[in-house]
């Protein structure tokens, strides 16, 4: 019976052929490691956030006089409201953990390189959309940190030349973050995840056009690809199980771990909390913002620190395939970058005083240096490795001018 229904559909819609081509027979390198699970996890968390968010929106009230109370109503009165709220709040942090690991995988293995530039850039757009969504979502509970975080960050746009003040006024809809701001942030916070969803589909189309890279960074022969289903579906679901254990561990037993205590105090426009701290996933960028003494300079540096990822396919000028696998200097740069981001996070979490100011400035310098020194370093590294003698087999895989990276000659 099901077969007849499917056959009927297949005559009118490419259901079976699509599923076969993109899922059940889709060729995937057999050597993908668990670092490749994180794209699937990101998709799962997106669905989790949308579902929990919609059910929260049935009870939340985006009015400055009602918002905080409505969140308490959800937490205390709505059946399983506490579960919806904690899933959504912790899901946001989980989203960034997954995405940052996903990005780290891409950087480490050089998966951003030709012909995967559009895949990387669609990911860059997704990162920006996610950051915007998270920023707007954080205002909604209307706590002290919600209000003041939004106040500080929207103020940054004042640095824009010529129409900075008008821009801030337009963004907020008022002279300060107020009811107008809250209402529009709610509307947009509801909308943008669906734009993200569409962008994810584009991201997947781009992926399927060029197929997954793999830990070796070298295109495998056809015989070394295996169908996505059931191999990677089973692997993805197993990874999902592990992920859910960690997520639910936090949701059920330590839900306040990612929540700032001061956000349990309703927003007070007359009084700023002692320490304004953004959510952890914005900390490195916040540190870079504060590291530059000039306001406009700080804003430009912060924006560039996010946008510079887009340049990676062109910053990396090595003709050796892949990423860190065969390239010790690139690998070193990667680890330096990771440690630097951790240092920046620490700096961003604390008030800018004493030695932390200098640490922040050095770390900002190192951050940009790991990117901007990549062109000369990658070229020199390639020369050095070639002079040393490449591992057997790698010689033939070095990319020429017209070839794709790592394509077999």
């Amino acid at each position: 019976m099901t077969n007849r229904v499917i056959a009927w559909i297949d005559q009118r819609f490419p259901l079976t052929s699509f599923v076969k081509h993109e899922l059940t027979e889709y060729p995937t390198p057999r050597n993908l490691s668990y670092w490749w699970n994180f794209g699937f996890l990101a998709g799962f968390v997106l669905v989790l956030q949308i579902v929990s968010g919609i059910f929260l929106a049935m009870h939340y009230k985006p009015d400055i006089h009602l918002a905080f109370d409505s969140v308490q109503y959800i937490m205390r009165e709505v059946n399983y409201g506490w579960l919806l709220r904690y899933l959504h709040a912790i899901g946001a942090s989980a989203f960034f953990i997954v995405i940052y690991i996903h990005m780290a995988r891409t950087l480490y293995y050089g998966s951003y390189r030709a012909p995967r530039e559009l895949l990387w850039w669609s990911g860059q757009i997704l990162l920006l959309l996610l950051m915007a969504t998270a920023f707007m979502g954080y205002l909604l509970p209307w706590g002290q940190m919600s209000y003041w975080g939004a106040q500080v960050i929207t103020s940054l746009f004042r640095a824009t030349p010529w129409f900075g003040n008008d821009l801030v006024l337009w963004l907020r809809g008022d002279f300060t973050v107020s009811d107008a701001t809250l209402n529009r942030f709610f509307a947009l916070h509801y909308l943008v995840p669906f734009i993200i969803f569409g962008m994810v589909l584009i991201h997947l189309v781009a992926l399927h056009a060029v197929r997954s890279s793999n830990p070796s960074g070298i295109n495998l022969a056809d015989k070394d690809n295996i169908p996505f289903h059931p191999y990677f579906t089973s692997k993805d679901f197993y990874g999902l199980g592990v992920f859910l254990i960690v997520l639910c561990g936090f949701v059920f037993f330590k839900p306040d771990f990612f929540l700032e205590a001061i956000n349990n105090v309703p927003a007070n426009p007359m009084q700023t909390p002692a320490h304004i701290v953004p959510e952890w996933y914005f900390l490195p960028f916040y540190a870079i913002l504060r590291a530059i003494p000039d306001t406009l300079g700080g804003v430009v540096a912060m924006v560039m620190s996010i946008m510079i990822f887009a340049a990676m396919p062109y910053l990396d000028r090595s003709k050796l395939p892949g990423g860190a696998r065969f390239r010790p200097l690139y690998r070193l740069a990667f680890y330096v970058f990771i440690i630097d981001v951790a240092v920046l996070s620490y700096v961003g979490a604390h008030p800018p005083s004493g030695v932390l100011v200098d640490v922040g400035r050095v770390a900002t310098f190192v951050y940009f240096a790991t990117f901007l020194l990549l062109p000369p370093v990658s070229i020199l590294e390639e020369r050095w490795l070639r002079a040393r003698g490449l591992p057997p087999g790698l010689e033939t895989l070095v990319v020429g001018e017209d070839d794709k990276v790592g394509a077999e000659k």
Binding site: V78, N79, L83, L84, F237
Partner: protein, 167 residues
């Protein structure tokens, strides 16, 4: 190898089948909090019960109270009105008056016309709905007009002689 195939596929299918069933069951179970969150909260449910003090409602007077978002007529009937209602059977939806009251002195009905939902106005003989002219008697029974049913009686009980609880 062929013997393995006979044993292993069965084991493998059992493992994969049971895992799938457990997973789907969990996913279905995870839907329950979502559905439950849409049910009325305890606050809402507590508003579904309204206490009404009957003191101060003179004979012949109607006291209107909101209950679950709708008006409820609490009518303190005079002896004459009671007698007239007990004699009559009503109109197109016959019902003895005794079946519509717990205490004949007090008529408690939902003040929503059973035709299309307007709130009828009190007249000497009962109620008249301004929208399409349905006429109800002093027992809330439909006498003439397009309404199909008598005015609905909400669940209520007397907590004391001068207090009723609706809901």
């Amino acid at each position: 190898m062929s013997e393995q195939d006979k044993v292993d596929p069965e084991r493998r299918d059992f493992l994969i089948t049971s895992t799938t069933i457990l997973g789907v069951a969990g996913a279905a179970g995870a839907c329950w909090p979502l559905i439950s969150s849409m049910n009325p909260t305890p606050s809402v449910k507590s508003e579904a019960v309204t206490e009404v003090d009957l003191q101060g409602v003179a004979p012949g007077a109607v006291h209107t109270v909101p209950w679950r978002g709708e008006p409820v007529f609490i009518f303190h009937r005079t002896q004459g009105e009671i007698a007239a209602m007990e004699e009559s059977k009503g109109g197109k939806d016959p019902q003895p008056d005794a079946a519509r009251v717990k205490n004949p002195d007090w008529l408690v009905v939902i003040g929503i016309c059973t035709h299309l939902g307007c709130v009828p106005n009190k007249t000497a003989k009962g109620w008249l709905c301004p929208c399409h002219g349905s006429i109800y008697d002093n027992s809330g029974r439909i006498i003439s007009g397009p309404a199909p049913r008598n005015l609905d009686v909400p669940p209520y009980h007397f907590a004391a002689d001068d207090k009723i609880i609706i809901g």
